[in-house]
């Protein structure tokens, strides 16, 4: 055992546990040791849950030995972004003003993963308040900037920064992140991982920090698209404690398929780094082996302004007390300490116009997507940003991200997987975005892409 199971896909890892070739306690010990020893190197961890994890692992070990196997996540360790409430540990939201915050209950997603037999080993670092105050730099977390396991001078992306670092560094087999606009796809893309943003409402948000009530989604970061499907099925489902959680049943369809239809938005690589655009062009060649690829033009709508306006207003309202009291001065990023004040100047009528236009956007994009299994695009416009520098972002209107604006604004699922390396040797990625509730279609496409490429089998050199 030991280090040779790192980066093993979940289906295979689960098979080893089910057949007792691997025991949950020894697997938990392996990852706990790595979290304690290497977590600080990447600023990836807020709290290591040693006692809690070993208790869950011992229970899993007993259940599996007794023939009460719960499924493919039984006995598998994972980490959770530190915006998910967990009884028995702080839940810091990545922000100094909340560093001692505790809840006496578990978020629904934590409870559901426990029911699936997964073992919570750590609460993972994140950008303060999930980036909702307008941060522009990697240091915007009270635990420091998350360091990319591929390059100590590069950031992981955010706001699910620790989730990206921990999976890429082999500190956990999978992690839970959240996305309001880009916070799963960004760290997954920059760290060479698979990251799944589910349809809005697929996963209960109960117990997760609210940033934007109509934009927040929870989803997994892992080694492969198949891993993401295995985790999603454990997370998904209705929840009386979250009225937006859908009662649409979700069953992960892992069977292979062919004959995909892909759409590519005209000029989707505008603004991308050269290597990102080149890798995407090469990826399109792979996709043509899987099906058809067509260029598509979206209707002319102010997509980014729609989603940005909703995000800015909802985040300012969710943290009204912190902002109005001046408590934001306790945040880490200098810009987070004053720029939220500007949101008082967004008019209610303009916010409602954005929410009305969201309906137009949702209908238009669904009409386009009805002809395809997925729209595809680069996962990120660049390689991971350098530490110590401000980065460009669609949320602060310093970069374009139509796919992110449409996908998050309309609540659509997307998965990204690695598709090459850039000029600095860091991972680049491709994203597949589908119609609402079509996680199975985009996961099938991403799995098929990964079956024809080997980028997901490459890992950073680790200490």
């Amino acid at each position: 055992m030991k280090a040779d199971v790192l980066f093993t896909p979940l289906r295979e890892l689960g098979g080893l546990l089910k057949t007792r070739k691997l025991l949950p306690v020894e697997l938990a010990e392996l990852y706990l040791d790595r979290l304690e020893r290497l977590g600080p190197k990447y600023n990836a961890v807020v709290t290591v849950m040693r006692e809690h994890a070993l208790s869950q692992a011992r229970r899993a070990e007993g259940e599996i030995a007794a023939g009460r196997y719960r499924g493919p996540l039984h006995g598998i360790p994972y980490g959770a972004k530190d915006l998910l409430a967990t009884a028995g540990a702080p839940t810091t939201w990545g922000a100094a003003p909340y560093k001692d915050q505790r809840f006496d209950f578990d978020a629904t997603v934590i409870r559901k993963l426990e029911e699936a037999g997964a073992v919570l080993v750590a609460k993972l670092a994140m950008i303060e308040l999930a980036g909702g105050m307008g941060y522009r730099q990697p240091t915007a977390s009270f635990t420091g900037p998350c360091i990319n396991p591929w390059d100590a001078n590069a950031w992981t992306g955010g706001s699910s920064s620790g989730s990206g670092a921990a999976v890429a560094a082999g500190l956990v087999p999978f992690a839970i992140g959240s996305e309001t606009w880009g916070s799963i796809l960004s760290p997954a893309g920059y760290c060479g991982l698979a990251g799944l943003r589910p349809t809005y409402g697929r996963v209960s948000r109960h117990g997760a920090m609210a940033l934007c009530w109509t934009l927040d989604k929870l989803g997994p970061l892992a080694q492969t698209a198949d891993d993401c499907g295995l985790v999603l099925v454990a997370m998904a489902g209705r929840d009386p404690k979250d009225p937006t959680a859908s009662d649409r049943p979700y069953r992960y369809a892992a069977a292979d398929r062919t004959g995909f239809r892909f759409g590519v938005i005209t000029n989707v690589t505008d603004g991308c780094e050269v290597a990102v655009a080149e890798n995407f062009t090469r990826s399109l060649g792979v996709l043509r082996k899987m099906g058809t690829v067509e260029e598509v033009t979206l209707p002319d709508l102010p997509y980014e302004q729609i989603t940005r306006t909703i995000l800015q207003v909802e985040a300012a309202s969710a943290f009204e007390d912190l902002i109005e009291s001046g408590g934001i001065v306790g945040l880490t990023a200098p810009e987070d300490r004053h720029t939220p004040y500007a949101r008082d100047a967004i008019l209610a009528k303009d916010y409602l116009k954005a929410v009305r236009l969201r309906g137009v956007m949702a209908r238009e994009i669904d009409r386009v997507l009805s002809r395809y299994d997925a729209l595809v695009a680069p996962g990120r416009i660049n390689e991971a940003p350098v530490l110590g520098q401000e980065f460009r972002s669609a949320i602060s209107a310093t970069a374009k991200d139509v796919m992110g604006a449409v996908g998050n604004g309309a609540g659509l699922p997307a998965v990204c997987v690695p598709n090459g390396v850039g000029a600095r040797g860091l991972p680049t990625s491709i994203q597949f975005m589908g119609r609402a509730w079509e996680e199975n279609s985009i996961l099938a496409a991403a799995r098929a892409y990964q079956s024809l490429t080997d980028w997901h089998t490459r890992h950073p050199k680790l200490g």
Binding site: T214, P243, T244, L301, P302, Q305, I306, R308, T309, Q312, G326, V329, H338, T339, Y341, A342, R343, D344, A345, I346, L347, D350, L352, K353, A354, V355, R356, L357, R358, G359, V360, A362, A397
Partner: protein, 70 residues
């Protein structure tokens, strides 16, 4: 972010709300940056306002009447 912005009456009026509410906690440089951000917000709002909607285009927002279960 702190470059001076061109005169724009709507930006000026909305920025004044921010200055009145929070000006006593902000430096000159921070106020300049906030004016730039307000200007960007106004530009975004204008992009939204340019799109005409019909009376039937409702906000895409979840709402349900509430009644406590017995």
């Amino acid at each position: 972010m702190s470059e001076p912005t061109k005169l724009d009456p709507e930006t000026d009026a909305l920025f004044e709300i921010v200055r009145q509410r929070y000006g006593d906690r902000l430096t000159r440089e921070q106020l300049d940056e906030l004016r730039t951000i307000v200007r960007a917000q106004v530009e975004a709002a204008r992009a939204l306002r340019r799109i005409r909607l019909t009376n039937a285009d409702e906000p895409m927002q979840f709402f349900a009447p509430y009644r406590a279960e017995p």
